[in-house]
Subunit: 320 residues, 2 copies
């Protein structure tokens, strides 16, 4: 039921030469603001602009030849779709991505550019998921789930291995959480390699499914999500990701929507990084002191950079 | 008269553990747009937000104990001042930075934050230079020139060594040019280590001192500079940097002001990097096909990220 260290190491081998290195970036400014020694893990600079390619590529690379011939399907408004499309293209496999009826044009174009077929999935994540399930059944496509699957969790977990290899003395790792695939893999990798590392998950007040799930003790479906962080909109974690998070994660904290928005601007101004709101949530928790830790070596995951340019301009004008 | 490979290697040793690694970043998008295989060298992610710390630190580290006690002075509207201030602070030396009467507040604040004293230098580069010369003479401060000095050239040249070490098969390196310190060091390093590498310098049409100097055959002072690229405003290269450029650089090309502005936006949208206009000039030359090369492995220097946030927002709104 739980991902193993061997599976994460196998994912790392599968990804070798495919993903880009994203070495830790020390930030003097954010260290001062947070009272810790802060390093960013800039996965916004990863291929396709987010970490999602790690899980998607690992999953697709492990399919049987027969499954590869059938092709794959993902449902996604953005980063997971791009990761799946890119991974499938590199492996010579046909991908179909179920997107919302009105997708962000730049995200739609990226996915088409990576050779995937786009299918209209309606306007909610439920109708998109249904459409993907339908294609799985009627056309025999292999589902590439955004989080609830061991090979996906193992792929995202390679980030944990990279962090410990580069900064063995790391004390704490801070991770934004949506469905929970990323934190499940990262926390499992870290705790298996170095049990003393603390792992903190971050939800936004506008979308707090994992926070509520831990509080209730089971995968809890929140009534609504309303957040600027369009990559953190899961209404409910999976059984698998909930179990991993409960086992491996030390704490979940919340950040406000405004803290996220301001942190997008701080990342641009101070770290020279273009980061989408979802990708700024973990740093927001550190610089707005939503955790109790101080004086530690902290690695903050910056998960993606696919922000709409006009939103970025609006945030800059509002917060500088 | 020319910097030697030994001096550049000594600079690399001096900078070890001081500067951040800035590994090359492959860009699929810019490769497609330019018809080459393009790697960015993201010195916008360097400490102080630009490459300038390399030369300044190397220069200051090599001062005698007596000179270190006297303190240093630089004249700069921005990046060289920040590099000098940061380097001096790390080495426990007092720095004075002569700035324009109305500096960009964020640049002024950064320099103060790095512990330097600010002195008003009037409104032009000539009055600023005069003020720095005056402080050199009256207070015995050691001048840290922005480009016309072998230890500065050697420090900037470490970028060339890093490029060849990381990508030994590099064909061409493209470098933005102002006073010429950066391209002098980078071209010398490259040509001494791998003579077959092509080095291309880039001026903007709004500030073309080096371009005109090569055409005339001597360091030529242009009548005026008027450019969005506030780090490329030198009106005349130095004797040293002109000589290095003539000896080592294969070609100078021009880009338009609009090409630079658009490239700032492309770097944000596609490479997820916040880059100042000066730092976008070399990539502008590649994606707007201002060179004849194609099918090559090209490293493009992205020299700095200290762009005013409201300018960035304005450019995004204009060009997306």
């Amino acid at each position: 039921m739980f991902v193993t260290l061997d599976q994460i190491r196998q994912a790392q081998a599968n990804l070798a030469g495919v993903i880009l290195p994203t070495p830790l970036q020390y930030s003097r400014t954010f260290s001062e603001w947070s009272g810790n020694t802060v390093y960013l893990k800039p996965e916004n600079l990863q291929k396709t602009g987010s970490f999602k390619i790690r899980g998607a590529y690992n999953k697709i690379a492990m399919l049987s030849d027969e499954e590869k011939k059938r092709g794959v399907v993902a449902f996604s408004a953005g980063n997971h779709g791009a990761g799946t499309a890119y991974a499938a293209q590199s492996l010579g496999i046909q991908a179909t991505v179920v997107m919302p009826t009105h997708p962000v044009p730049s995200k739609r174009n990226a996915i088409i550019h990576y050779g995937a077929k786009i299918v209209d999935g309606g306007s909610t994540s439920i109708t998109m998921h249904d459409k993907a399930k339908e294609l799985e059944q009627t056309e025999g496509l292999v589902m590439i789930h955004p989080f609830e699957d061991i090979p996906i969790i193992a792929g995202q977990g390679t980030i944990g291995l990279e962090i410990v290899a580069e900064l063995p003395e790391v004390d704490t790792v801070v991770v934004p959480v949506s469905g929970g695939g990323l934190i499940s893999g990262v926390a499992a990798a870290l705790k298996e390699v170095k049990p003393a590392v603390r792992v903190i998950g971050v939800n936004t007040e506008g979308a707090m499914a994992m926070y509520e799930s831990l509080r209730h003790g089971y995968p809890f479906e929140v009534e609504k999500v309303d957040t600027i962080a369009d990559g953190l909109m899961a209404k409910k974690p999976g059984e698998l990701t909930f179990a991993h998070t409960r086992k491996y994660v030390d704490e979940m904290v919340l950040v406000s929507e405004e803290e996220i928005a301001k942190t997008v601007v701080s990342l641009a101004e101070r770290a020279k990084l273009v980061v989408e709101p979802s990708g700024a949530a973990a740093l927001a928790a550190m610089i707005h002191r939503r955790t109790q830790i101080s004086g530690e070596k902290v690695v903050v995951l910056v998960t993606g950079g696919n922000v709409n340019m006009s939103l970025l301009a609006t945030l800059i004008e509002k917060y500088t």
